[in-house]
Point group: C2
Chain length 300, copies 2
């Protein structure tokens, strides 16, 4: 818990929340030895490949801002991370982004082959909904609402819509509004849902849910604009994935459309909007604020 | 509803239940014009490609056997069909079974390309859980239980485990017990779950749920043994998919391990076990019985 009189220790916060999430994920997922062992190894390979666990951290911090507990928020945090990981595995496939590196390691299909990589993604997506059933329903939010929230954010109108638009936009000159369409769905939707699910696990009020939606939406967009900037300005080693890929694939990005400086301004403005959204929490959303700062200033 | 004094009209029953399922699926799924239009077209292409809707029919018949209504069972029936369709789309991909024909039409990736086919499968899988939230929870079975049921049956220990074992078994000489392992998961798990979800939507008793589990398990296995037989004995035209594929791919099947005649005996025995499981319904499971008969005697 944060205290107003000393600065918030985000490094420590993330260490604790990541440990809790990793522990829970290991418990929720079948062991690597469970048959079919290749599949469970492949699922765990990508799930424990050193991801930053930003979505679970956001979810836990949102729960905390609403007076909720880590224990009640953990199943949803793990579910969101399973969705995120599945989407990366499928996104890296040869028929999609065709990427060889992810988080500094060979991508799932490079290690396990395309067939198993597709099935490992399918299994993580399915597992997300199983894990979500371990959540405790609250007075305001039943299991039904939790499933509806996660399925919509990950579905054909949000996360997958973003992937499709991204796939169809490759090599094309996109307008800023089309790029915004992609970013909203491909990145912002799940981050926004993580923020909302955190609140829901803590039985948040409608006002709090609106604030978390607004916060998650803006922080999600900022996250992707910064991703675009880092792809141009950082090395593959630093990113843990192939840098300059966007340019090579002639992908439309914020820097390619409005330039680096303007992109930085946009990211800063989005982050400012995210901070403004947190006002209803009256200083109690310290972890969320610290996360937003980290996302803006990260270099990988 | 069936009457003891005249034979059950299965053709009419299936026509009615398929119409209800198709109508509901069209309502639950985003229209083909909804952005991203390619994705929604691809989802609908496979979902409305003339599938027999055996799983939904089984689910509705199980609900009816427990005194439930079609309306309450429809969301689960549609959810199961979405799962089934996604698994076919992914199963047909070049890195899996590499099939060009399905239900007499080009497979999804042949029409829309691999990237969109993978995403259409992902979207149908996700949509299944969203559709399931439209179910009405009953006194004995909450939304939590419905989601747990569907996610487990479709997950890494059941449906996907079957796909993996199938993939890894290609070109290998399999024992009958290994083949049984595959069939249980790849086919029986979801049929069994359809039967159970039908009961659950009708607030079935624990005794009824056990009976439906037993019935679904045996009918699911019989279904797959018959599929294996038909692959050897029928033409591609009749099957609506490439016949003789199992032999070409050197796939282990019931006929290849125990021969056609013994396979027919096994299918008949499994169907008899399925009938026996229906005893607790004391003649009220007429539609389920008729479906079991149809599955045994079908020729495509």
């Amino acid at each position: 818990m944060a205290h107003a009189d000393k600065p918030f220790d985000l490094t420590r916060y993330l260490r604790t929340s990541n440990a809790a999430v990793n522990h829970a994920l290991k418990r929720f997922l079948p062991s690597a030895a469970t048959a079919p062992s290749t599949l469970h190894k492949a699922m765990r390979y990508s799930l424990f490949a050193g991801g930053k666990r930003m979505r679970p951290a956001l979810l836990l911090a949102a729960a905390e801002a609403c007076g909720g507990s880590v224990v009640n928020a953990l199943p949803a945090a793990c579910a969101v991370e399973c969705i995120h990981t599945y989407s990366l595995i499928h996104d890296d496939l040869p028929s999609m982004d065709n990427d060889d590196l992810r988080r500094g390691k060979p991508t799932n299909h490079k290690v396990y082959g395309e067939g198993i990589a597709i099935l490992a993604g399918d299994a993580l997506l399915t597992q997300a909904f199983e894990i979500l059933t371990h959540s405790k329903a609250t007075q305001r939010y039943s299991h039904r609402e939790l499933v509806l929230e996660l399925s919509r954010a990950s579905g054909s109108l949000q996360l997958i819509a973003g992937q499709v638009a991204d796939l169809e936009g490759e090599g094309k000159k996109l307008s800023l509004s089309k790029l915004l369409y992609i970013h909203k769905r491909k990145t912002s939707a799940l981050l926004c849902s993580a923020s909302r699910l955190g609140g829901m696990s803590a039985n948040c009020t409608p006002t709090q849910l609106r604030a978390l939606t607004d916060f998650g939406y803006h922080i999600g967009l900022a996250f992707q604009v910064i991703d675009d900037i880092l792809d141009v300005t950082q090395t593959s080693e630093k990113l843990g994935k192939t840098a300059g890929k966007d340019i090579a694939a002639q992908k439309a990005t914020y820097p390619s459309i409005v330039g680096i400086e303007k992109s930085r301004q946009i990211a800063a403005q989005l982050t400012a909007n995210a901070f403004a959204a947190l006002k209803p929490f009256k200083g109690k959303a310290t972890a969320l604020e610290a996360l937003a700062q980290l996302l803006l200033h990260r270099d990988n």
